[in-house]
Symmetry: C2
Amino acid sequence: MKTIEIYCSFVKMLYFCRIYILTKPVMNTTPKPIIAVHGGAGTISRESMTPEKEVKYKSALREAVLKGSQILEKGGSAIEAVEAAVIVLEDCPLFNAGKGSVFTNKGTHEMDAAIMCGKTLEAGAVACVEGVKNPIRLAKLVMKKSGHVFLCGPDAVKFARLYELPIMPPDYFFDQFRYEQWMEAKKTNQATLDHSAEDEEGIILKDKKFGTVGAVALDAEGNLAAATSTGGLTNKKFGRIGDSPIIGAGTYANNASCAVSCTGYGEFFIRAVVAHDIACLMEYAGMSLKEAASKVVLDKLVKMNASGGVIAVDKYGNVDLCFNSEGMYRAYKRVGEKEFVAIYRD
Amino acid sequence: MKTIEIYCSFVKMLYFCRIYILTKPVMNTTPKPIIAVHGGAGTISRESMTPEKEVKYKSALREAVLKGSQILEKGGSAIEAVEAAVIVLEDCPLFNAGKGSVFTNKGTHEMDAAIMCGKTLEAGAVACVEGVKNPIRLAKLVMKKSGHVFLCGPDAVKFARLYELPIMPPDYFFDQFRYEQWMEAKKTNQATLDHSAEDEEGIILKDKKFGTVGAVALDAEGNLAAATSTGGLTNKKFGRIGDSPIIGAGTYANNASCAVSCTGYGEFFIRAVVAHDIACLMEYAGMSLKEAASKVVLDKLVKMNASGGVIAVDKYGNVDLCFNSEGMYRAYKRVGEKEFVAIYRD
């Protein structure tokens, strides 16, 4: 009888242990800080790329994630990291943002940018700003100092001057290649995406490369942030604004779900509220980051015939670089691990 | 035995009938077309309102829903109905949109507007446009003719001229009351919301009335649409853009969920992606229109200390006019029924 009692107690103990194991919260070790960047998506074919150009692109993407990663490693915030990474890409003439911005129909460079903090949901954005060396810095300034979220046009540049942000003369933004792109676009009176690829059926878009840069990050404190910057469409007119500076469309961060930066056919990304949709699919439909990004980019956007991609991170340190185009300039780096850099699908 | 067999057959029949009743789709009779409008929300107290003013406001709101409702009654589309209703409010000097737009810091009138079709997810928006008599018409033109979604500034006005939309001289927008509001705001160098009420703690916002107009509708074909138009903040500067023209924030329509037009403290409405959030709570979290609107306006926005409201309709013809402020100028009319018009909470 004694043996049976001991046996029963043992079984009970096992049973309760099982309940404990099944019900105790999963002990998440704090995920390592991570940063991801993109430099645009679209028809990026190996044929149109020389080995030298490929090295240059990859080196710039690497530099951007390393810059952001160094900040995260020292305990810096996700906001600081995404801003710094985007500045690297804005200062590089290869990408259509900041220095490398394309020409508008008037021969100017009108840039858009946005930044968002996932912890506070604070956000800052600018559209159609000329001469500002780093539009992402202006977007952050709007977030921190203006009491507003979204400023545009020459009056937004006045705000930049008020805080002594560097304003550059037009020749800083001059690039022979971009100029030729513009001349080409003017011939057909079309607004075109970044540089040339094959023809497109659309009325507006002659080619299929989406020039934008962006970054998303998770910091050591578990906070998320997103930032996006662009020169928009070559030969654009009428003060066109794309998805990049639209909170919810091209840029969104929320600690409850994820941080997202988009690159693609902006008009469709606005209509599909892409970045916020990914966040909502996670928060309300219980999808993982990968499932949510795939649902939007590989299903919804494809059905709309909208080309492009997103980079996204969540609070667990998951990262997803998802695109429905041929390629996307992209990279990510987890603190303490080697960076990943890629251009093509494979 | 025979009796038992008959009895069994009868029971079986009853059982299958039950299955049929439980599984057959709910036969929705097509919901009646409906339109709702708002003319802004905020601290609207009975004390500050004369009976004459109240009659004028209510009469304008009534005129707007009747105009939209007449279109819906004749089988017109939700897009046509919301555009027509918003034009009525833009042409009325009582509301801060179109003719009644407030003064910017420069003494100009810079208007924002957006429109969206729930069937196609097509959208059009404009920001910081001066002189355009009906910014909502320009937003619709952007949607239909520009190949873009969002245009801003003087270049967007060029697009309006190209299609010969009426452009008015500055005195068309002059209003003594608005002018005095502006003079008052200039004294303190503050950007303020619509006209005066009690003081506010915020740095930027002196008073608490949010001047915006908007409309949402469901048409006979079951399609939804939303439209919003505003003059923004009195004494605003730096090219500030609020939530009204941001697809997903101040304006959103999707036949899969609902159509929403917002009015409130724009910066918070952008950060909370209000209109799209309501749609996602319905589509992904299975909430009803009322639950979703309440969750966002009465819970999330209240926690952000963001005042304002929304009008929303869904594909079943449900309507919700939800606000966390003291009042909201609002009305709705279901085709064939009497209109509802209200200002205060009770």
